[in-house]
Amino acid sequence: MNSALTLPSLLLIPVLPLLLAIALMLPPLRRFALWFAPWAALPALVVSLLMVPGVSVELPWLLFGSYLGFDETAGVFLFFTALLWLVAGVYSTGYFSESCSRAWFLSWFLLAMAGNLGLIVAQDMVLFYTFFTLMSFASYGLVIFQRTPEALRAGRIYIILAVLGEVMLFAALVLAARAAGSIEFVAVQSALAEAALRDWIIGLMLLGFGIKAGVIGLHVWLPLAHPVAPTPASAVLSGAMISAGLLGWLRVLPLGELALPGWGGVVLAAGLLAIFYAAFVGLLQRDAKTVLAYSSISTMGVMTAALGLGFIAPENWPLILAAILVYALQHGLAKAALFLGVDMVTAAPVSKWQRYLLIAGLLLPALSLAGAPMTSGMIAKYLLHVQAASVASFWAGWLQVLLPWSSVATCLLMARFLYLVWPRQRAGSVVVVKTRMMWLSWTVLFMVVVLSPGFLPFSAAEGLWLPEKLAGALWPVVFAGGLAAVIYWLAKHGKWPFHFRIASGDILLPVERVLWPVLHAMMLRSYRTLFKRRFLLSIYRRVGQCYSGLVFLLEAGENGFRRWAVGASLFLVLVMIFMFLAWQIIF
């Protein structure tokens, strides 16, 4: 691509959706903007495909002087992110029949898109953070779009955590900028290695981005928010935006710079915990989209674990990075495909070939996620597995052991998902009129998922299609499938012994139970009544008494002075005092 075009094209990526969003808000331009809005991510996709990585442009007038750039990481992220946004955008034209609510939805959608795409091409912390923030807040609009009580609750939780994440990031970024003396990613990453407050910075980064990335413990908003959002929004939330947190880590953390086994262990452990915990909780859900959300958490756990691996083994970082990128890509695409598919199932009457397509469309991305053979998921898992094996460390060993089991877990989740989503009755909850665009977009996405193993440009993948490797990837799927079948059979015949469930949001629930009443109490019995009632009032009264005493004194005093006898006597007294003072000098 022409270098003269670099800046405009990079700028166009976030600016176009922004402009369209603004246009959508202006009534005269709305009709016009509605036409273009679904395609707002197209330039980004084009750029991701055409631009040669390794360019950077400085924008000295923007914020503290900003950098836009395009490198490999950005390429991968931009590709699948843009694709998802594009697909979701097009999908939304069918999803929303009413133009009014579509415009409303698309405003938020475009804003979030601008943030998400922008942060990928941002090459400094501040710009990144800016876009990240834009994305975070705009997503809120997507989350609560349906205005159901669940949506509002999810939105509340989401926004609280998002703000928390924002401020933690702020602190982290400030600390990092201070340590580096610069805000460029390149400089920061290397400077962070020697930073005095390195651990603080890393910790805050992990937490701040971790909220978006659904790190275990901070994941609670995901299963609440993803299901309640409109389907196209769920798709990008779960597929694209969740990776933004990951990208943040990749950009700022000193990965590959130095070994931080402590952090590595923590992160790895958290990742592993997330994989299985989320899978476990997800299996107990009864809503398909919720299951998908837990699956996202679980998958992000894998990536988190990979990140931990990067901490432990900086020398392997480039390869780990590659693994993570592939993982992110395939997860994004597959998860989006699944989310979009959910509504396809419940949508209006389908023809026969559509039904086949639907089965395939749900099964294949699910298998891909599980890392079944011949999917991009398998490539990702393989890459990661290799790296885990090459690192000699306690936690890395665990990762190596547990990685196949993560596939089992994912697979079980997918089975659960398919079970839940499978159309049993015809009562479509969503009445979709214009399904053509939905089908179109979903099909495109599905094709990309299917074809993705083909175009992944990894040399390591060359030896991947050998039978033993395929078998290694296959057994978890088969095992999980069998397990799922058994459970299904048992449950169908009423022999499944476990009937408890965990509501979505899992660990949030006890927290909420404690937190809300406290907050409510504070809000209702506000500051004033809390303090003023007893203490201040008594003081006030006491002061009042003194005051009335004083007033009496003043009044009596002045009345006394007014009396001639008193006043004139005072005159005499003063004369005497002055004389006395004089006499003191004489004697």
């Binding site: 808000m25 000295p60 007038w61 923007l62 914020l63 503290f64 002087g65 501040v126 953070y129 800016t130 923030t133 807040f137 609009g141 609560i144 205005r147 509002l152 939105g155 926004i159 703000v163 928390l164 924002e166 401020v167 933690m168 702020f170 602190a171 400030v174 600390l175 900028a177 201070r178 407050l197 504070m522 809000m523 506000s526 500051y527 004033r528």
Partner: protein
Amino acid sequence: MYAINWDVWLPLCILASSLLPGLLIFFLPEERVVMRTLLNLGGASLKLVLVGILIWGVFNGHHYEFRFSLLPGLDLVLRADALSLLFVALSAVLWLITTVYAIGYLEGSPHRSRFFGFFSLCVTATVGVALAGNLMTFLLFFEMLTLVTYPLIVHRGTQEARRAGRIYLAYTVAGGTSLLVGTVWLYGLAGSLEFTSQGFVADLVTGHRVELVIIFVLLIAGVGVKAALLPLHGWLPQAMVAAAPVSALLHAVAVVKAGAFGIVRVVYDVYGIDFAVSLGVALPLAILAAVTILYGSVRALFQDDLKRRLAFSTVSQVSYIVLGTAIVGPVAAVGGLVHLVHQGVMKITLFFCAGNLAETLGVHKISEMDGVGRRMPWTMAAFTIGAFGMIGAPPMAGFISKWYLGLGALEAGQGWVVPVLVGSSLLNAAYFLPVLYRAWFKVPAASWPAERSFGRVETSLALLLPPLITAFLSLLLGLLASAPFSPLQWVRFIITLEYVP
């Protein structure tokens, strides 16, 4: 034959450009709306032009100073140094906008001549504070500001307004007295009160450390009242009963700003930052500011009255400036000073919007704001930008200040500031986001408390444009922070002067 020396008279002209219209307006009959509007806008525009000339002149090496002997050895000095230009420019710009807004806001209400007269005087005093070249002059205009703001606060004449006015006076007059005593005392010790960019106290006073600390406390207490530092902030939330343009003036253009500006002056140009540190007064000030930041935010959480919430927010936000000043380091100072501008632009937006809600719909309380975004999308859009700016979300102006504060605190080795900033942001979010939520996402009530119709537009244009402009500005100030002539660049320039001998 001698030509008028503009280097001398320009500062005075800037002062006069609002003083004279103000005085003229007092004598205008209530009905002469056009004339009054002309005077108002003419004065405001002229001031803006003059300030432009001033800035241009300073860039070209002119030295603007007006000197007038008040007492033997004590002059009334109006001088345009880098720091004052910042404040002057801010006031001039915001004044014009606020004037437009006020004209719209007060349309048809009684006593407008009185209002706009004091309005102009208020800005005059602010410009005087900004241009003051020594502590004496500063004190003079500072006190004048107290006096001319009072009629604005009590303008509505209701019981609450008068109560607010009383409280305002109680605080500010007491503060002024403290400032006076401090100033006189300092004058007695130092024999001069001229602001110098590294502070004059260190050069002129030897010994007297205890006295100097006491004087510092007196001075800071004096200006701190207006800046609403913690124990002295009580007037600000009360004063919110005043009309929206007044609140805008109080919170963004004039009063609070003058206080914060005063703290900057005292720390930098009176004591000098190094000397302040060696006296051991900088850190306590910073801590006080930090406590104020958090306290103001916490209090804001519990307010249902929108303007009251905004007022507590101001308490919190203005202390950023103080914090930036008191943290010893150029970067933090940049953050503090630039917040002077940023907070002004953002908070004025918020108050304009609050005023629009009150004026158009009769909405005063947050609990009445359900769905107001649908009825007044433009206003609420501006409000949203302002609110996000307050939270410190990028790329709003507030983020820039916060970023520099954080960076500067770390540079100065005062890491404890970062949690304060973080906490403040959190609290800001906690009290602004629910407002936004209600406005945008809740279903509007059947009817508004007191709705007025303005035809096709959501409210009158004079009310709508100012917040939109300032909202746009607060976005722009953040987005283009590094562009030449941005406040940030200017503040960096100022700080170079303060820190590099």
